[in-house]
Symmetry: C2
Subunit: 269 residues, 2 copies
Amino acid sequence: MGAAHVFDEAIALAPHGEGLWQGRTSPAYANMIGPYGGITAAQVLNGVLQHPQLLGEPVALTVNFAAALADGTFIVRPRPARTNRSTQHWIVEVLQEDQVVITATVVTAARRATWGEHEATMPEVPSPAETPRTQRRGVEWLHRYDMRFLTGGIPREWNGQDVGESLSRLWVRDEPPRPLDFPALAALADVFFPRLWLRRAKLTPLGTVSMTVYFHAGGAQLQATGTGHLLLQARGQGFGGGYFDHAGQLWNEAGELLATTHQVVYYKE
Amino acid sequence: MGAAHVFDEAIALAPHGEGLWQGRTSPAYANMIGPYGGITAAQVLNGVLQHPQLLGEPVALTVNFAAALADGTFIVRPRPARTNRSTQHWIVEVLQEDQVVITATVVTAARRATWGEHEATMPEVPSPAETPRTQRRGVEWLHRYDMRFLTGGIPREWNGQDVGESLSRLWVRDEPPRPLDFPALAALADVFFPRLWLRRAKLTPLGTVSMTVYFHAGGAQLQATGTGHLLLQARGQGFGGGYFDHAGQLWNEAGELLATTHQVVYYKE
């Protein structure tokens, strides 16, 4: 048996008394201050997915970043607030030193076959094989992903010129490759570098405040996607009063919409 | 002093012991089963806004509809899970008969002036004065809004033909007119009739499961908007496995982006 994937090590949670789990920030997913937000979202979701009372698969995940996580251990407290016949509503808190650092809600459900269609269709782009890997330097978590930018990459020059648009498209997968599952998809939904940096070509201090992921794929579809690249797209919507938001989509190589995502980000100036 | 606006009556909450408030479903905002989801979102937000420990103004609101609200009273339990220097993170639960029917999170913040711009610009459309009011029949809450559809109105024929697109644009304001504030804006964000009905011209049974609103405007901007119409736009993204989502935007008549919104909706077939 080989060593565990670095992602699995990062999201691992150990029982810590009645209804509590203990996790630990992973140096492999370190960001500038504290961990990469996507790995925190995956840890929160994992707290629900490994809960003995879990019903179904994730449909919606909202993670609110209440404070910067300090390096070290944390406690995850997932609580099934309401369980219905085929849906379940979770409230999750993450604590450090008895203080709340994350609040989150998760909706899980037993999905069933219905009519379906994707209106947010994948744009026509070159395949991952035709797209060279983008070299990313800087914080540690960047090295945990194979990113291949098609448009809207990190500005080459931080010249402060408003380019009027903040659309990014890129192929991404875990590095090393790892079969896709719900925690990995949640983590991928935060891969976008801040739209404000792209829009203004300026490294303004900032941090994600709240992030939502809607899961359109079931577990079988994720399994079929395997270790392939996902096409990720995001665009900023409103910027002002210290906060901006973006809306994004994640497709697999077959063009299936696996998830949509939104987030609102604090910025300083 | 005149009578209170029906919206203010509907979202009113009375103290109900330590940290709890009591509200009541409003027949004026009745939907097919239980109340209009938008009025529930407004009640949840109101529970935070009138809390004595409130810091700042709403930035993000996520409301999860865990169960159908029964007509009658309910308890709102807002809890400031984390208070920082300029931001605050709330967990809110709504209970009926000691059972959770709503879970929600709210982020509030003291906003400050920064660079700003709206990338999600308002489409060019005729003004509200040039757009005839759309007659809506059916459930009671529809009569609480003046709606003027520009595109993507309720299908004239429920013929089950997939029209391939689910974009709606409409002017909306409270009826009778009422100066805009945060609870009213939250309620307006749910005005869109289900994208699935538009897309398929079919009255499939369904219900919103989770809804998020990002507030781009501060209180002063809402005040300046006053009783004017808002332009609302929404479009479905993914439909399948019993759930679909949409993404939407709300602008005032001056073309300012006041809020963006997303929701995921359960459907039966």
